[in-house]
Symmetry: C2
Subunit: 466 residues, 2 copies
Amino acid sequence: MRIKMLLLVFLCIVGELFAQTADEKTFRTIYDQALTKGKSYEWLRHLSLQIGGRLSGSYQAQQAVDYTKKELEALGLDKVWLQGVMVPKWVRGLKEYAYIEQGAGEQTIVPICALGGSVATPGGGIKAEVVEVKNFEELKALGKEKIAGKIVFYNRPMDPKLINTLHAYGGCVNQRGSGAKEAASLGAIGVIVRSMNLRLDDYPHTGAMSYGDLPKSKWIPAAAISTNGAELLSTMIRLNPNTKFFFRQSCKNMPEVKSYNVIGEIKGTEFPNEIIIVGGHLDSWDLGDGSHDDGAGVVQSMEVLRIMKQMNYKPKRTLRVVLFMNEENGLRGGRKYAEVARQKGEKHVFALESDLGGFTPRGFTFDCTTEQFAQVQSWKKLFEPYLIHLFIRDGSGADIGPLKDGNLVLAGLRPDSQRYFDHHHSDADTFDAVNKRELELGAATMTSLIYLYDKYGVQTPKKPKG
Amino acid sequence: MRIKMLLLVFLCIVGELFAQTADEKTFRTIYDQALTKGKSYEWLRHLSLQIGGRLSGSYQAQQAVDYTKKELEALGLDKVWLQGVMVPKWVRGLKEYAYIEQGAGEQTIVPICALGGSVATPGGGIKAEVVEVKNFEELKALGKEKIAGKIVFYNRPMDPKLINTLHAYGGCVNQRGSGAKEAASLGAIGVIVRSMNLRLDDYPHTGAMSYGDLPKSKWIPAAAISTNGAELLSTMIRLNPNTKFFFRQSCKNMPEVKSYNVIGEIKGTEFPNEIIIVGGHLDSWDLGDGSHDDGAGVVQSMEVLRIMKQMNYKPKRTLRVVLFMNEENGLRGGRKYAEVARQKGEKHVFALESDLGGFTPRGFTFDCTTEQFAQVQSWKKLFEPYLIHLFIRDGSGADIGPLKDGNLVLAGLRPDSQRYFDHHHSDADTFDAVNKRELELGAATMTSLIYLYDKYGVQTPKKPKG
């Protein structure tokens, strides 16, 4: 009995050693593929330089759908298809124009851009005194009397002390998202929001805003100002409280149009009904060319399936790449994908999104149960030789969020975040700001995680007792 | 007895909790200082944009000595001084010129730069057939017959599969360092070396080379060619084995000149004779402005002492910042510093160098004993909130190397290495390629480690038995 037991332990150890070695070898093959024969960078070059910014409903967004579908088809996947989805269409119109006015003839032009979803100013622009606030509490304390007829200037900067810049973003973005609604409720005629950028520079950063339940008649124009512009405006207001601000923008909400999620699939050999997806979002803002947000995530996700095909890997489970439409201003693609999955009764077991830029990968975040996270942690050692150290429980990605059902594991790639907001939603989000190796390392890291989930399956969460 | 025991355990735990909390607080203060009131970026702006490339013996190198001394003096350290050292002086002369010649009238200009230490070509340049080799074995197999009178083209690229790009560099750099010597021994009249760069681009990358013990009469000119140029040259040779290469360079070795290490010090309050140093090298190549190599290390090291002063931290041990001269082509500053330290009988306990660029810090390498490394590992948890995960035993830094005595711990900052060789030793090593936050995070991470070593001291290595 004892000898049998020892033998069993021995066999387990040997088994594990062999398994380890096989996984290590597969990791090496995956990284070698990405770093020496990778296609992600060339795909991104096309998306960024041949197509450019891909705002939902734009001609460029449709070009991106056509291009990625064609490229996925060329990979020889089992199936590639488009999933139709209606998306909002907002257009920027003419280049925005703004100045700070200290007195007659004393104007200083500053760089602004309309926030996504905002209405236009009247054709001749608007000019009014500016009230600077740092948050909604300050705004409300000032009240209607001080706000009505003014332009509200939200100037709470991202906190440089936060190591993870996503947290700094999270601490500021309500100014952009709800600033117009809050200010309009108190009678403001427009809002100017400090760009979500840690760096002092001249790029205004756009992004989604919403008027919430405010009646359409009360909607006011909202724009972002560059961080240098915000510093300047703040100083001028301090020097002269009667400082006025002028801005003009001609953006417009148009009727919804039909667009598509682009989906490619390799059928599973053992558990074809268990679906693993990897994705990013195909749309971007119209400023810059959307290389980091989220051209990088798109081409990395495509690369995952390309590498699997190149390795001649036959997945046990069904692997899908999903290129979501309309993450930036509607999330319609993510919602549609989840809706169709539910209608069809599809069982998704793992979903991975890359939507934080093409920088050196540091690890992953996981939205899952404690037991599921324990499984992840058992894999950490495999990633360490590739300098992937970060495995934490946190949010995953916006597009895969609607799939959440308490069973499947959701994960997000976590690249280095230090430079992300230098580029995000601005003219500075361009192809030259993406490093080929960093992009490829991200794709390889994603492929490795998908491989492990395919091979070992996902820990089923324990049923609650009772 | 049992109660006393429990009490002791309890007190130990409480003690550790408090100690932990104090260190955690200090870390937070250090990072906050660096990220909100840091001076490293402004110092680097001056070094890079007002002074520029600081090759040993140049006017710019002297300007850098004067500037950093003045800035250190302004910090109110206990002592700031210059340490004289004779350094080699090599000058590039006129801009180099090169072309590939397929036949009469069929020339293609390619970007080259002289390697540091190389002799010039004759004034009219040299032109000869080119022999491409990947390594010294291939060269030697060809032998004198095939090499004599030719230009040898070393074209072994950096290996993209290596995750740590320093290893890829290590696998190639002998072509640059000893290529001329090896080729000259077989009668070659010049060498062209593929730039140490993982990216395909048009920047030639310089760097040190040596003729070793070759008599001066046999010295041949050596230059680097951009990676794109190397690919082109290789293709042309394949298409036409009679392809010729022309290059002209007017670089020159001049008599040695006097230069300086710049040193600043805060005297220790408890163990003033135990010295901790932190440093980078003040010289750079003359291409670009030396922002990453090693302006970053210089300003980060200065920032360590600035933060200590700002925090009003009174170190137990003596803290020194050492800005070494002549790392790139001689290591005279590092050798001089160690020589003087030995003459004075100074006891150095810890030395930290930053010389791998101003990118997001990932951790440190340690050159130390097993027991000393165990001490380091006990500190890992403190660094994790700052996304510092890498603590490994490896080489530290060139300048602090000569201090090595088996007792002191040597360490090197390990920033993310993916983009380093895009810039290293080339016109692409410029201020705009450094990100402020990444630079500051490196400085804070270095300060935190110096703080721990000052507070806890260095584990004394066990004496070997017998």
